[in-house]
C-alpha cells in the first residue's frame, strides 16, 4: 500500500510538472499579451498544486503555508497584470 501511494505521488508530480511545461510553451508562444498572463496565472496554480503534493509526500503541514502564499501572490500578480493591460495603469 505504501508503494501504491508512492507511485501515485511520483506520477502526480510528473503530471504537474508537465502541465507547467505546457503553460511555459504557451507563455513563450502566446500571440497576445493576455495569453501570456493567462499562462502565468496557470503556472502559479500548478506551483500551488505542487506544494500540496510535496506536503503529502513529506507528511508535513509546513507546505500548506507555501501553497497559501503561492495562491495569494498569484492572484495579486494576475490581477495587477490584467489591470495594467486593460487601462495602462494599475491604480487610477
Amino acid at each position: 500500500m505504501r508503494l501504491l501511494l508512492e507511485i501515485s505521488l511520483y506520477f502526480s508530480q510528473f503530471c504537474v510538472v508537465l502541465a507547467m511545461l505546457f503553460c511555459m510553451l504557451r507563455l513563450l508562444k502566446g500571440p497576445t499579451a493576455q495569453d501570456r498572463v493567462l499562462a502565468l496565472d496557470t503556472i502559479w496554480m500548478c506551483a500551488m498544486l505542487f506544494a500540496l503534493l510535496l506536503g503529502i509526500s513529506f507528511a508535513s503541514l509546513v507546505y500548506f503555508e507555501w501553497a497559501m502564499l503561492i495562491a495569494l501572490t498569484g492572484f495579486v500578480s494576475s490581477v495587477a497584470l490584467a489591470k495594467f493591460l486593460m487601462r495602462g495603469e494599475i491604480i487610477e
Binding site: S8, S12, M45, A59, L61
Partner: protein, 144 residues
Amino acid sequence: MMQIPADIPAWLAITVALLLICGSLITLVGTLGLLRLPHFYQRIHGPAITITFGAGCFLLASMLYFTALQERPVIHELLITAFIMLTAPVTAMLLMRTAVYRDLRNGRRIADMTTEPQPVTGHCATAGATSPGLMEEPRDRNPE
C-alpha cells in the same frame, strides 16, 4: 526519500492515490487545452477545469491524508479552497475584459461577427466559418 508511514491503511492509500491520479490527469487536460485551443476566448476555458476540479481533488486528498495520519480533523485546506473559489472568477473576468478591450482597441470588431449581413442559417459553425476574422489567430498590433 518520501516519508510515508509503512503501516498506512489500505483504504486510505487507495483513496488518496485515486484522488491524486484523477487530479493530476485533470490538471494535465486543462493545460493541454490552454496549449492547443486556437483562440484566446476558447483558451481561457482550459485552466478553469484545472483550478476547480484538479485543485479540488488535490485538496481533498491532502485533507483526507492528514486527517487519517494525525487522527484529528485537519481542515486547513478548506481555507485554500475558499480562497480559490473566491479569486478564480475574479481573475478570469478581469482577463476576459482585458481581452475584449484590447481586441476592440486594436480594431478587431467582435460585434461585426453578429451584425454582418449574411444568410441566416441559424447554425453557429457555418456562421463562424463564413465570417472572417473571428476564428483566425489574432495578432497584436501594438507590441508589448
